[in-house]
């Protein structure tokens, strides 16, 4: 019992977010390669990429200010912090009492805000373009994200993520149409937030089409490594958040912490399928035109609102 104290779980989750995130990114790339009929670079390619970048020199623009140098660390820090308030393995997290869903969204927003500033900081056309596009997307995805999370919080009557997950995982199983709407909204938002097809293309080399990549175009060396790593963690976190909110069954409960090994195994299985699901979405779609994104995120907001309404009408 005391072996799996909450603090230990938190450390475990911290390590998991740090080191499992690249593997999950690798898994997504791997599945994608297979679906495209190619050989993949393997599960561990993202680790090699990060390692390579960490060993490279940083090339800084002459007019880069402290914002540009500080941003990679801030982005990395906030993402890791987000990793310890999302119930990935267990809902019994020490920080869950201090940070709720709104704080989680705010953490991602801080990271995004500083990335956008850094994009503007060095004064290249691409950085500014990327920042402007990223904020456009954010202005639509953040409200939709909050709406989706509020729908789930209505079920548990709390904005604490741990509490929400606990109610869904360990409460009585009820089919809730509001959650189905919220899930749909969440998937659309997660695609936009993590810069996946059809909103953004993480693999593109075309400067003019980039959203997230355009902001970080001037980064190199360890700065780039941290940002790339944080990007992988963000993908991992959104996936695990989605799993925790909508498919939490098997997550270790508060008093039932010896369940942890099973929770880890179940999480791996869920991530396995989540990766395949993500690739299935990405492979069949072209990236949409930039001005279609508001329709896309508008529908996400609509779904979240419908979820909210259906809770009051049906449940």
């Amino acid at each position: 019992m005391n072996v799996f104290s909450p603090l230990f779980v938190m450390c475990l989750q911290f390590i998991a977010v740090l080191f499992a995130a690249p593997a999950f990114a690798g898994w997504v790339r791997m599945v994608k390669c297979w679906f495209q009929g190619r050989k993949s670079a393997g599960l561990f390619q993202p680790y090699r990429d990060i390692f390579k970048l960490l060993n490279k020199d940083v090339v800084l623009a002459e007019n880069a200010s402290w914002i540009f140098r500080f941003t990679p660390f801030l982005v990395f820090g906030t993402t890791v912090l987000a990793g310890v308030i999302i119930p990935i393995l267990s809902i019994d997290l020490p920080l869950s009492a201090t940070a709720d869903a709104i704080a989680l969204v705010a953490l991602f927003t801080i990271a995004r805000f500083f990335t956008a500033l850094a994009g503007l900081d060095i004064g290249t056309a691409f950085g500014g373009m990327g920042s402007s596009r990223e904020k456009t997307v954010a202005s639509m995805s953040e409200p939709a994200m909050l709406m989706a999370i509020f729908t789930v919080s209505l079920v548990s009557q709390s904005t604490s993520i741990s509490h929400m997950v606990n109610v869904i995982a360990h409460g009585e199983f009820v089919l809730r149409p509001s959650l189905a709407f919220a899930l749909l909204a969440f998937i659309l938002i997660a695609l936009a937030e993590t810069g996946r097809i059809p909103v953004d293309n993480p693999a593109t080399h075309l400067e003019l089409t980039m959203i997230h990549e355009a902001m970080i175009l001037e980064y190199s060396g360890r700065h780039l490594a941290l940002i790339e790593w944080a990007g992988m963690m963000k993908l991992f976190l959104f996936t695990t958040l989605g799993i925790a909110l909508f498919f939490p069954w098997g997550i270790a409960a508060a008093g039932d912490i010896t369940f942890l090994p099973v929770a880890i195994l179940l999480l791996l299985i869920k991530l396995f399928f989540a990766g395949i699901g993500l690739v299935l979405i990405e492979i069949g779609l072209a990236k949409m035109r930039l001005f279609r994104i508001q329709e896309f995120l508008g529908s996400a907001f609509l779904f979240a609102t419908l979820g909210l309404l259906s809770y009051f009408m049906l449940e």
């Binding site: 679906f35 495209q36 009929g37 190619r38 056309a125 691409f126 500014g128 373009m129 402007s132 097809i197 059809p198 293309n201 693999a203 593109t204 080399h205 075309l206 400067e207 003019l208 089409t209 175009l217 492979i283 069949g284 779609l285 072209a286 990236k287 949409m288 035109r289 930039l290 001005f291 279609r292």
Partner: protein, 523 residues
């Protein structure tokens, strides 16, 4: 309906003299006085001809001055109008008021030959960059290519847009992907593009000058390297121009094998291009699958012709490799397989709504603009211009196997992709016909060095479009001038026009749907 030649003879009557030494027989060069050069252009414009190319020659080795040539075409007829310009007064009247493509041709003439187009609205250099001295004209005979060129400070003034919220995006010449270098300057408000200006010339290699120092055989090899992805069509056009000048008739079999290579080159490049267009919309599946098909074709090329791109297989007088019976069998069975695989992928392209949303209505080049700009190749056919010199000006064996012309009116990215889908289908059929009726005489004829001051001309429909070569032999039987006009030289203009009304992130897709050659343009 009178021909261009008759029309121009009527208007300019005794002023238009004919050059006796222009080959092949179907192409006429009319020499007009300098002050009637524009008059000739006006006549051409009113007879609906298009300007194919405009170029200058240094004819001092023959005791003349500079020659300014303008080549016009209408249907099956190509007509060249030449005017002589004395060395001491190197100016000629501009044709820009009549023909839009002359805009860049003439800037190029001024930059490289130092003959000034009077009345041209744009005095900036083209291809030659501003760090070269103004009076360095590499195509003149007095220019010594072996000396080191002193660098000068210069500035290239881009067109500026001003106003609240207008900003500028400089893109390139070094890009994030491995592509050729070119600079694009956007003026934009938000994501809307106000104007796009290209600056090219970063891969200027001095090819036209280099031709003049090479033997005719080596020239064919150099022509094969003007634009690596079009090596067959370029060396074919060069060889045809040379053969017309030298009076050489390659054996029938050689002509058919050349056509075989030309069609294989077309299929391979179109496959790669359709995939690349899809990849620019992040639909990478088709890129990888179509690249796979292309790769297999290239490997077969290597096996049968000794080179993946069939470089140096077209030589003056014929071809360097023959095709065996087993080779024919292999190609035929490969075509069946290819056709089957390709049709399956074409369905995926055609039926994916998210892809369709991107490619339809993006980067529209209207038929009117296309006609005005004189674009060629698939770009022209996607914008309602029925131009294909395999059909309109057929060189053997296309006089016997007639390709199908696909003309679409919409002029968007989809049209440019779909024309290529249809051309792949047609080329597969053409290759079947070629292999079916391959004659069995030799593959190479002897070639004599042409006499001095002979002019050869050839057009070949490469996969990008009409490639034009005009060659002139020097006093010692060498090359005095070899003019290369890649389809890119005119089609690059079209991208600037097609991009109006689009948004910045759609530019790469539009650009890819044109996929013009930087190397072929910059020479």
């Amino acid at each position: 309906m009178s021909t261009l030649k008759e029309t121009i003879n009527v208007t300019l009557s005794q002023d238009a003299g004919q050059d006796e030494y222009q080959y092949p027989a179907g192409v006429t060069t009319l020499i007009v006085p300098r002050d009637r050069f524009v008059e000739a252009a006006r006549v051409m414009k009113t007879s609906d001809a298009r300007l194919v190319a405009e170029w200058a020659t240094d004819e001092t080795p023959f005791g003349r001055g500079f020659g300014i040539y303008a080549c016009y075409a209408k249907g099956p007829e190509y007509l060249i109008v030449k005017t002589d310009v004395p060395v001491e007064d190197p100016v000629f009247p501009t044709l820009t008021k009549k023909f839009v493509p002359s805009y860049r041709f003439e800037r190029q003439i001024q930059s490289l030959m130092g003959v000034k187009p009077v009345g041209h609205p744009d005095g900036r250099p083209w291809i030659k960059h501003e760090d070269w001295p103004d009076d360095a004209w590499p195509l003149r005979k007095t220019f010594d290519p072996s000396i080191y060129m002193p660098r000068v400070k210069g500035e290239y003034k881009f067109i500026r847009a001003e106003g609240e919220g207008v900003y500028e995006i400089p893109v390139g010449p070094v890009h994030a992907g491995i592509i050729e270098p070119g600079h694009f300057r956007f003026q934009a408000v938000g994501e809307d593009i106000l104007n796009l200006e290209e600056k090219l010339g970063y891969v200027h290699k001095g090819i036209e000058k280099r031709f003049e120092t090479l033997s005719w055989e080596d020239g064919a090899r150099l022509a094969g390297r003007v634009s690596g992805d079009t090596t067959v069509a370029h060396s074919l056009a060069y060889c045809m121009a040379l053969e017309s000048m030298a009076g050489c008739n390659p054996p029938e079999r050689a002509l058919w094998v050349r056509a075989l290579m030309l069609e294989r080159e077309r299929i391979a490049n179109h496959l790669g291009d359709i995939g690349a267009i899809c990849n620019d919309t992040a639909f990478a599946f088709l890129l990888y699958q179509l690249s796979r098909l292309k790769e297999i074709l290239l490997r077969t090329n290597y096996k049968l012709f000794g080179h993946r791109l069939m470089m140096d297989n077209v030589i003056p007088g014929g071809v360097s490799v023959d095709i065996t019976t087993e080779g024919i069998e292999e190609i035929l069975s490969e075509l069946d397989w290819l056709s089957n695989e390709f049709e399956r992928l074409a369905i995926i392209y055609d039926e994916n709504p998210s892809l369709e949303d991107r490619v339809r209505g993006a980067g529209i080049l209207t038929p009117d603009t296309a006609r005005e700009l004189g674009v060629v190749g698939f770009v022209a056919r996607a914008s309602g211009q029925p131009l294909d010199c395999r059909i309109q000006y057929p060189f053997p064996p296309y006089d016997r196997i007639v390709p199908k012309m696909t003309v679409l009116e919409s002029g968007d990215v989809h049209a440019r992709a779909w024309v290529r889908v249809e051309e792949i289908r047609d080329s597969i059929e053409l290759i079947r016909k070629i292999l079916d009726t391959l004659p069995s005489d030799g593959i190479k004829a002897g070639l004599d060095v042409p006499a001095a001051d002979r002019k050869g001309f050839a057009v070949v429909e490469g996969w990008r479009g009409e490639i034009v070569y005009w060659t002139q032999s020097g006093p010692n039987g060498g090359t005095n001038r070899c003019m290369v006009r890649d389809p890119s030289s005119v089609n690059w203009l079209a991208i600037e026009q097609a991009i109006h009304g689009n948004i910045v992130p759609d530019f790469p897709l539009c650009n890819k749907s044109f996929n013009q050659s930087y190397s072929g343009h910059d020479l």
